[in-house]
């Protein structure tokens, strides 16, 4: 029998079944010692912190990319806020709004203005002249802002009669 055959026979070596059973029982009977509570707590806290830090970091970068810190001290100094062209555009928008607000005053005060009444049945030409004078003197309107933007429907023009003028005429 050469050495090779001897080594091959080693494959057939098996432990004693009684010993195997005994060892197995001993292992299973050994109580499992859990890690200490403090260690588990620390691990848990560390995991939570780890996750939170990741979330915060991702949020920070998202805000940084989307310009979320534009108006805070974290954003880089922007000299573009002093750009005269941008300033001019915004200032012009304010001026336009001021003009729109100023239009309200004269038109509001002109609204109560009305025709000078003429006696009923005094003749066709008398009625027409009263209305004509009203058209010449009054631009009565009930919605000054809407008129300023060209959307009102009741504005008195040179060819039509305003609502108030019509009512004035019809009330006599």
């Amino acid at each position: 029998m050469n050495l090779s055959d001897i080594l091959k026979q080693f494959k057939n070596i098996e432990p004693d079944p009684n010993f195997t059973e005994k060892s197995k029982r001993m292992i299973l009977a050994t109580p499992q010692t859990a890690p200490a509570l403090t260690v588990r707590g620390l691990r848990m806290i560390f995991r939570v912190l780890e996750t939170s830090a990741a979330v915060v970091l991702v949020g920070f970068f998202i805000l940084l990319i989307t310009g979320g810190f534009q108006s805070s001290r974290l954003s880089p100094v922007q000299y573009s806020v002093m750009d005269p062209q941008g300033l001019h555009a915004e200032a012009q928008a304010v001026e336009m709004q001021i003009e729109l607000a100023n239009i309200n005053y004269p038109e509001s005060s002109a609204a109560p203005e009305s025709t000078s009444p003429t006696a009923a049945g005094s003749g066709n030409s008398a009625t027409s002249s009263a209305l004509a004078s009203a058209l010449a003197t009054s631009t009565a309107s009930s919605s000054p802002v809407a008129n300023a933007s060209g959307t009102a429907s009741s504005t008195a023009t040179t060819s039509t009669v305003s609502i108030d003028q019509a009512l004035q005429e019809l009330s006599k």
Binding site: P84, V94, A101, N104, S143, A166
Partner: protein, 254 residues
């Protein structure tokens, strides 16, 4: 059968189209009353060929038509104003509540006009005159102040985006000024910024006062004056921004 169905559907839509087109034309005509329309009354009164009864009948018909057209025109005016009001953008719940309240008041105005139109059915000549007088007085006493309030609210709402833009610019400018002041030691910068901040604070305070005036339904002239003041202060803020811009550009060019 299918052909009949098609004819029916096409006919239905054609009728609907004609109806809406007709209504639109009628509305357009309502708001285009001319002196000639009113001269018709005098022409009837002066027509020697008409009997007294015919004259009354014809005059009544013309008067009813004119009063009706005028009231419908006034209703179209209310609808236009309400549409502008509802289109206004609001950024706060207070402003949204005010918008709803004003829209409700315009609904009331429309209901008033409907009521007057109903009265017209059984009215005689003096009745139509009385209705015209009532509507005229109501417009002067109630509708014109309401229209003023609504217009002021629309104006104020439009201003809010200007204030938001200015506030954003103010914050960014503060950062730039604080950095440049630290780097250059220029005191003019801080002075100019303080002036801008003061006028912007005033503008914001007046803007809030204008909102309060609108919420409390104060006379339209008062809220309009506050709106104008706030805009003037905002304009002044931009003048300060221009002064700041000049100082910054000078510092950067050196």
């Amino acid at each position: 059968m299918r052909l009949l169905k098609t004819i029916f559907v096409v006919g239905f839509f054609a009728l609907c189209g004609a109806f809406f087109l007709g209504t639109g034309v009628a509305h357009a005509d309502n708001c285009n009353l001319t002196p000639a329309d009113f001269a018709e009354i005098t022409a009837i009164q002066n027509n020697p060929t008409l009997t007294a009864l015919d004259e009354v009948k014809q005059e009544l018909a013309v008067r009813k038509d004119l009063v009706s057209q005028t009231i419908m025109c006034a209703q179209a005016d209310v609808a236009t104003l309400q549409s502008s009001l509802n289109a206004a953008t609001t950024t706060t719940s207070d402003a949204a509540n005010l918008q709803t309240a004003l829209s409700g008041k315009l609904d009331d105005a429309n209901n008033f006009y409907n009521l007057e139109l109903t009265k017209l059915n059984g009215a005689g000549i003096s009745g139509t005159e009385s209705i015209a007088k009532d509507v005229l007085a109501w417009r002067e006493g109630s509708y014109e102040p309401l229209a003023g309030e609504v217009n002021n609210f629309i104006l104020w709402s439009e201003n809010q985006s200007l204030f938001a833009t200015a506030e954003n610019r103010m914050q960014q400018t503060e950062q730039t000024v604080s950095f440049l002041e630290g780097a250059s030691g220029n005191t003019d910068l801080q002075n100019a910024f303080s002036a801008a901040q003061t006028s912007f604070n005033a503008a914001e305070a007046e803007n809030t006062q204008a909102q309060n005036a609108l919420t409390q339904f104060l006379p339209a002239d008062q809220s309009l004056a506050l709106i104008q003041q706030s805009l003037n202060s905002l304009s002044e803020t931009y003048q300060q921004f221009f002064a700041l811009s000049t100082i910054v550009n000078n510092l950067l060019s050196h």
